[in-house]
Amino acid sequence: MPNIIVCYKWVMDDQDIKVNPSTLELTTAGAKYKISEYDKNALEIGVQLKEAHGGSLQVLSFGGANLKNSLKDILSRGADAAFWLADAAADNADAVATAKVLAAAVKKMDPADLILCGDGSADLYSQQVAQRLAVLLDLPVIDNVESLRYENGAWIASRQLRDCVETVSVAGPAVISVLPGIAKARIPGMKQILAAGKKPQNALSLADLGMTADDVQSATKTLSVKGASQQRKNVVIKETSAEASVAALMAALKADGVL
């Protein structure tokens, strides 16, 4: 019976992030937080594997001061227990720093047969944490996984690549990052929500992991974050005949170098 750890990130709800149309600066004041959607799919496949094979399912997260607010939500979605580390160092952590903390935390938890990650986080989406975590834990890693099963102690994963699907198997512990389509996250019901508060919530600190804020340095430095913008030309063609309109459109596209 496998022991599974699912990593998740508590991110700002992108619907609450506003872009200032003139400066393209992001306004995040008052934004609510939610579980990164990709991680919900990772948790769901973890829950399905547990339902099929038994074992345990724990969740792990490294986040900012409000990470505690995620616990009942994540625990209502089928995990047995949560391990969480809230530290201001998470606010600017990139994949290097995050993987370092998660790796140290995994070593404090029960030995895992599988560590699941979402394909990327819904905010930064660097798609690197799973791979870096595997290196730090000296475990094999499989990414881009679209289906996953467990047979005779081995994980059999199908990877969706650019023009083919590759199926691989790995015996023993591994880190696997999954695509969102792997499993549709179910909606937790009333009983799951009301039982969530009774499940174990294990708070960790950097000190518990033998780390300090200096150990959680990001390898990258964010210079600025701006909203994407699309400038419309607002060209209106007002010719009276279709032929003239087409000719005007062709001329405009040629002038722009599109044709």
Binding site: N69, K72, D73, S76, I187, P188, G189, M190, K191, I193, L194, A196, G197
Partner: protein
């Protein structure tokens, strides 16, 4: 005084929102247009525990508080009040009555199947000649050995067509007025002479059918009497006290659903070179509507919180029902106006929500009756 919802309440709201988005939004307009009962929604609603609010775990309930129900009802009503009719009939008008007043054998037999959604329930109090005046009941129940023989008819019975378990009120002693009313549980499939008429043609709420019910020499085991003979009126009033919080929450949801749609529209709709929301005349109207809606929501939540804390809440539930339903009517009417010609079409939801709002001012005690209830408490 703490006006914060708990984390669980927020999660319940999110859960219901997610459910509504996935299962109800895609069919909300269609069931209304086709006057179709959404039977496909019953199983997923039951699976999420939406029929188990406040009910004991031993029967499959989730032992949540009433505020959780209010939040769920509000969220569903934003999109489809017809679905809240199913929720309300099951969670406020029938299952709790069984739990509190039915014989233990009946509780054990029926409550789990009501919570699991296998059986639906209907509340049959109103008669052609006995609406608000319950004492004018013509339906009779006469004791006959180990049975009662029930004769009469009921009108405007929500979801009668799909229901198996009916709470039927009938006179066991006409000389005693309201104290001669008794309540019974009637299982449709086990009762000969029980018939449901065709659905009424209504103004709105077309996804929920409302029908007449006929009882002709229906033999009902004496064990099916709820409480004691003569306790029917007490049972009805206690049930409606709680039911009114449900209606208030439905009204709050309907109003919010209309507001959400109209606000999005007036921010986008450009006339005379600017969005119509930038006109102060529109802004003031929106401010008034939002303020009234907030007050209605707070009154509704407070009535639920009073019920949860075991206090008497008759006055507060009547006030919440009265105010929230009138606000829903005003808000939906104004939202149709804000959206102009489009608001009057079925391309948007506000027209449907306006028709749904109207019934909340009428059922489970008209607002005139709520005023009588409130005045009694105010004047002492």
């Amino acid at each position: 005084m703490d006006f914060q919802l708990t984390e669980e309440h927020e999660l319940i709201r999110n859960m219901v929102k997610e459910f509504v988005e996935e299962h109800i939004k895609p069919i909300a307009a269609e069931i209304d247009a086709n006057h179709r009962f959404p039977s496909e929604s019953i199983a997923p609603m039951a699976e999420l525990g939406l029929f188990g609010f406040t009910l004991p775990e031993q029967y499959g309930g989730n032992e949540s508080d009433s505020l959780s129900y209010v939040i769920a009802s509000e969220e569903i009503a934003k999109v489809s009040a017809s679905h809240v009719m199913i929720l309300g009939a099951q969670c406020t008008l029938t299952t709790p009555i069984l739990l509190k007043w039915a014989h233990p054998d009946i509780v054990a037999d029926l409550v789990p199947s009501m919570i699991s959604g296998e059986k639906l329930g209907a509340f049959a109090l109103t008669e052609p000649g006995a609406g608000c005046d319950a004492a004018a009941q013509q339906t009779t129940a006469v004791r006959d050995g180990d049975n009662y023989i029930i004769n009469g008819s009921k009108i405007f019975i929500t979801n009668a067509e799909q229901s198996e378990v009916f709470i039927v009120f009938a006179m066991t002693d006409k000389s005693k007025g309201v104290k001669g009313i008794s309540a019974f549980v009637v299982e449709r499939s086990k009762t000969e002479g029980f018939r449901v008429g065709p659905p009424e043609h209504k103004m709105g709420m077309h996804g929920s059918h409302t029908s007449e019910v006929f009882l002709k020499n229906c033999v009902v085991p004496a064990k099916n009497l709820l409480g004691q003979e003569g306790e029917g009126f007490k049972i009805a009033m206690a049930t409606l006290d709680a039911g009114r919080i449900g209606v208030a929450s439905m009204a709050v949801g309907i109003a919010q659903g209309a507001m959400d749609e109209a606000l999005a529209y007036i921010k986008e709709r450009v006339q005379f070179g600017k969005p119509i929301a930038s006109n102060q005349g529109i802004q003031w109207r929106v401010a008034d509507l939002a303020t009234k809606l907030e007050a209605a929501r707070l009154m509704t939540y407070r009535a639920a919180a009073m019920k949860d804390s075991g206090q008497r809440f008759t006055r507060e539930s009547a006030m919440a029902k009265l105010y929230a339903t009138e606000v829903a009517m005003e808000v939906t009417t104004q939202c149709v106006q804000l959206m102009g010609g489009l608001g009057y079409t079925k391309a948007f939801s506000v027209e449907r929500l306006m028709c749904e709002a109207k019934i909340t001012e009428i059922f489970e005690g008209t607002n005139e009756i709520q005023r009588i209830v409130i005045a009694k408490h105010v004047l002492g």
